[in-house]
């Protein structure tokens, strides 16, 4: 599947315990976050009612009337669970580990306010200032941030690598023009552009299109830095004999770029990737912190951080959880990055270790 060179590099990566371990943990976090609805949700996993089984997690909503309740809105499964266990007539509800959605205000007391972590209430990390479960917000917020970052990296690489390689490969006027264009483009301050674009976006955009738009704007202003690396690398590779050989054999430009040059500059690409991801997570968190990211009540790390800093004294558990999560994520990705860099470094015995 891989050529022996790459295989060797991958093996080397696996030998670097810190990086390899981080990758495993991060993959695990990603997988778990994909299944977040099964772990953190106010919808039940399984409801057995009158002999029928319901699996409400991924289906359309079940009005209360479906389970013999007197309201037509979404069933409150936590109360349903209590009701069934009191009645003891064979109906039962299995709730996820954390039985709260990230957006619902749930308080056992009479006020919406930040409460400290409590196993009894199943608020394992406490609640935020309006009594929303922090763990739930953290899980969903992290999921959005992670997948946003991955999507961002993919798009940035697609554009950056294509254009960068072309600049390096074709050179000449093409290179000159694109370089100037990129210089102009990259001088537009990215953060301000996001703020400006978002202040004019009509509010009736739904959540997915807003996230998509944020992604688009961020990608539009971030792909440029990739091109510099790709351009120089391609320039270097272009003068090598194997490129000349391929050209003599009649290979097309795109074949040369994508089949011959690209695999040889893969190490630069891969070592840069984790830092791009880190950058994306930081950017979306910063935007949320400043209030220009995703609209409320979308769960987000940045919003939690903001709440945390505003309530440092009265609710320290908010900042502690949000901050540790962010550090953990960024540390994992950075460890992976360092390991990749080392693994893909052709000079195996450098002082870098």
């Amino acid at each position: 599947m891989f050529n022996p060179q790459t295989q060797k590099k991958l093996n080397r990566f696996c030998q670097i315990k810190l990086g390899y371990g981080s990758l495993i943990i991060l993959t695990f976090i990603l997988l778990v976050s994909l299944l977040a609805e099964l772990l953190v949700n106010n919808r039940a996993l399984i409801v057995k009612y009158e002999g029928t089984f319901f699996l409400p997690t991924y289906t359309a909503f079940h009005p209360g009337t479906d389970f013999g309740l007197d309201y037509s809105y979404e069933t409150n499964y936590r109360e349903l669970q209590k009701k069934f266990s009191n009645q003891q007539d064979g109906n039962w509800v299995l709730m996820p580990l954390v039985p709260f959605s990230p957006n619902e205000n749930h308080t056992s007391g009479s006020q919406f306010k930040a409460t400290a972590p409590s196993f009894e209430q199943k608020h394992f990390l406490g609640t935020d200032t309006t009594s929303r479960d922090i763990l739930a917000r953290l899980v969903y917020g992290t999921r959005i941030a992670l997948f946003f970052a991955l999507g961002f990296t993919f798009c940035v690489y697609l554009i950056g690598v294509s254009i960068g390689c072309m600049m390096g490969y074709f050179g000449g006027v093409y290179d000159l023009i694109f370089q100037r264009l990129i210089e102009i483009w990259s001088n537009i301050p990215f953060l301000y552009m996001v703020i400006i674009v978002f202040s004019v976006v009509p509010g009736d955009f739904d959540m997915t299109s807003r996230i998509g738009l944020l992604l688009l704007v961020m990608v539009l202003f971030s792909w440029t830095s990739m091109t510099y690396f790709m351009r120089t690398e391609t320039y270097k590779q272009k003068s090598r004999d194997y490129v000349a050989a391929a050209r003599i054999m009649g290979a097309s430009h795109s074949r040369i770029i994508f089949h011959h040059i690209l695999p040889n500059i893969l190490s630069t690409l891969i070592t840069l990737m984790p830092f791009t991801i880190v950058g994306a997570i930081t950017a979306i968190t910063a935007l949320d912190f400043l209030g220009f990211g995703l609209p409320p009540p979308t769960p987000s790390l940045g919003e939690l951080l903001k709440q945390g800093t505003a309530n440092l004294r009265t609710a320290p558990w908010i900042i502690i959880t949000a901050f540790s999560t962010l550090i953990l994520l960024l540390a994992l990705i950075t460890f992976i990055g360092e390991a990749l860099r080392e693994a893909f470094d052709p000079k195996k015995f450098t002082a870098y270790r």
């Binding site: 037509s72 205000n105 006020q111 309530n311």
Partner: protein
């Protein structure tokens, strides 16, 4: 004239806009330079010509023309307020969330939260409503005044000692000039243009210090209409022209009041400082002498409310508003060290003042929202009771209408629509929204979702909206929350682009509520109706007006016109009640919450007179009756170092508290 003032409490900040602002102002100084080169314009002749052209409005007579039967008043029988023990001097430290966008008092961006510090609370009018009895007036620029209902005219004798802060005399000409100024389209302020053109019929100059002002209809609060008029410094606005907005952007308007802004105290983006006018002309005048005690009031720009609070705890700021429950109960709880040791005093003061109209302003010109049943449904789907009980910890009460808090003028029995899922569903169904989609949101037969954008500029209150959103979803209504920068949100609302706006109008102390601004069709559409009374199919939404609900109803219009023209208090009261009922029926406003008091925390060196504040005051600093005890400040700061404790002070002043259930 506070009606247009949106309470800009706790706005978030766009540093970018600030940058734009700074660059804009450097532009303006450039233009100024080029103007200077072309000789400063002078409109004196133009003003004279305008007076001559409108001779029925601007009259010039002699003292002998004054009617003989006038009964002059001077308000001297009223109780003075403030404390004779007040110590003058010192610097008060305060904060602003946003650097003021302009120092102009009218025109674009002038309606911000800083305006009250240079205009509303500081500048003097002929006479002012007494904060303990809003129907009586104490003298400001006037020494005496007399009212003739028969002639619909108020006669005013100005104090010859009155001076602008630049030393110029305040004369009758400045009053006449007000009408030239506020009617000018150069100031880009349509509301003022309209008000000064329609609400007065004549101003007469008898001599330099005697004027009379007439209004078209005798109103129960005629005094408020005429006496509360402020003069406009004619000598300062000589250069008034098409470039007014830029030319006067950063020039402080001379004031008759105690505080001015010196050019050296404007540190753009960082701080702005008020300083006491040297030898202020009214410093020994009754009703004014015990107020405006600090020498300087410095506003530092702190964008984040959490940081403002931390600065306050450090002692960098003197006072902090504790209206929000989380501050009063949690962040500065009674057992907080600074409070328990008596460094910071906590005060609750029950006042009587028309309440800011917090609520959902529904734009009834938008598709789907133009159906009354949908609006009624939204009213029933808004769970304000939960917000008040759990988020505001039952500190607040439910607002009943936009005309709440006007005594007899407020409808005695009208209540609000309560949160009721069944009723909401019923009304949504009447509008065709009968089935729920897979998310539980209602859709109609055209597959349109019952989903609206809920816009607000109140970043600090966004949690209120998330609670409303979650609850509304139970009734099959989706609210998409959009939190904008306060200025951006207000702009959106003024352009009538909002679906539903969560906002409030700050309301001035007035005898009766206003309806024309917010509910008359002329402020909703250009030509709302055709000549035969039917709806104009080509009508265009009118922007830059306060009819945020786009209410256009001939019956309501007729009542508002009658209300505006009426001089009979009883008739106005009954009209106000009918209007409230009609507006309730129209259901375009979902009343939110109100607070019948204000709460504040202040360091112990900030002293207040006995009784803390006055009945109709809107906040602790509004009347400027506090003072700074600098000895005590030194003592307190030292005590904080050494850990020495003082007697804690947590006080409630409920002498003006009204019965909770009467819904003041």
């Amino acid at each position: 004239m506070l009606k247009g003032l949106l309470k800009l409490n706790l706005p978030s900040h766009l540093s970018l806009l600030l940058l734009l602002l700074i660059s804009a102002c450097s532009d303006s100084s450039d233009t100024e330079k080029s103007h200077d080169a072309n000789k400063t314009p002078d409109n004196t002749a133009e003003v004279k010509a305008y007076y001559a052209a409108n001779s029925s409005f601007f009259s010039f007579k002699n003292l002998s023309d004054l009617p003989d039967d006038l009964v002059w008043e001077n308000g001297s029988e009223l109780a003075e307020f403030g404390s004779p023990n007040a110590i003058k001097g010192g610097t008060q430290y305060n904060s602003l969330q946003d650097f003021p966008r302009t120092l102009r008092q009218v025109g674009p961006d002038s309606n911000g939260s800083f305006r009250r510090w240079i205009l509303d609370d500081v500048s003097m009018s002929a006479a002012q409503a007494h904060p303990n009895n809003s129907n009586q007036f104490f003298p400001g620029l006037a020494t005496q005044w007399a009212v003739s209902s028969k002639r619909k005219t108020t006669y005013i004798k100005l104090n010859p000692l009155a001076r602008w802060s630049d030393g110029e005399k305040v004369t009758a000409d400045d009053y006449l000039f007000s009408f030239f100024f506020y009617r000018s389209t150069d100031i880009v302020a349509p509301w003022y243009n309209n008000w000064y053109s329609t609400m007065y019929t004549n101003i007469t100059k008898y001599n330099d210090y005697t004027i009379s002002i007439s209004i078209p209809n005798v109103k129960p609060d005629m005094y408020a209409r005429t006496l509360s008029l402020s003069p406009t410094p004619q000598h300062f606005y000589k250069e008034l022209g098409g470039d007014f907005v830029e030319r006067y952007q950063w020039r402080f308007v001379p004031t008759t009041g105690a505080y001015q802004v010196k050019p050296s105290d404007i540190k753009k983006g960082r701080s702005i400082t008020l300083s006491k006018v040297e030898n202020w002309w009214a410093k020994d005048l009754s009703f004014w002498r015990y107020r405006f005690n600090p020498d300087r009031i410095q506003f530092n720009i702190i964008r984040d409310n959490a940081k403002v609070f931390e600065s306050f705890l450090r002692g960098d700021l003197d006072q902090f508003g504790l209206n929000l429950a989380e501050y009063w109960y949690d962040k500065l709880a009674d057992d907080h060290e600074s409070v328990a040791k008596g460094y910071i005093h906590k005060t609750t003061f029950y006042n009587q003042h028309p309440r800011p109209t917090y609520g959902l302003w529904i734009n009834s010109s938008k598709p789907i929202l133009d159906q009354k049943e949908v609006r009624i449904g939204i009213n029933h789907a808004a769970n304000w009771a939960l917000v008040i009980e759990k988020y505001f910890r039952a500190d607040y009460e439910r607002l009943r209408s936009t005309a709440d808090g006007y005594g007899d003028f407020t409808h005695p029995t009208l209540t609000t629509r309560q949160f009721d899922i069944e009723l909401a569903l019923k009304h949504f169904a009447l509008a065709g929204f009968t089935t729920r989609n897979e998310d539980g949101i209602l859709i109609n037969s055209d597959q349109q979702k019952l989903a609206f954008t809920l816009t607000t500029g109140y970043e600090a209150l966004k949690d209120v909206l998330t609670i409303l959103k979650e609850e509304a979803a139970k009734a099959g209504l989706e609210l998409r929350i959009e939190v904008l920068d306060s200025t951006a949100a207000w702009k959106k609302a003024q352009e009538k682009k909002h679906d539903i706006l969560f906002s409030a109008f700050g309301v001035g102390l007035e005898m009766y509520p206003r309806y024309w601004e917010t509910y008359h069709s002329v402020n909703a559409y250009d030509q709302a109706f055709l000549a035969d009374g039917s709806t104009n199919p080509d009508r265009k939404v009118k922007t830059q007006s306060n009819n945020l609900e786009l209410v256009a109803n001939p019956k309501i219009d007729a009542m508002i016109d009658q209300y505006r023209a009426s001089s009979d208090k009883q008739e106005m009261i009954s009209l106000a009640h009918k209007l409230d009922e009609a507006l309730y029926d129209y259901a375009s406003f979902s009343p939110g919450f109100k607070q019948s008091y204000f709460r504040t925390g202040n360091w112990r060196w900030i002293k207040y007179p006995e009784g803390f504040s006055q009945k109709h005051s809107s906040g602790p600093t509004q009347l400027f009756t506090y003072w700074i005890d600098q000895e005590m400040k030194k003592e307190t700061l030292e005590a904080r170092q050494s850990g020495l404790a003082f007697e804690p002070e947590i006080k409630v002043f409920d002498q003006y508290r009204q019965d909770r259930n009467r819904g003041s």
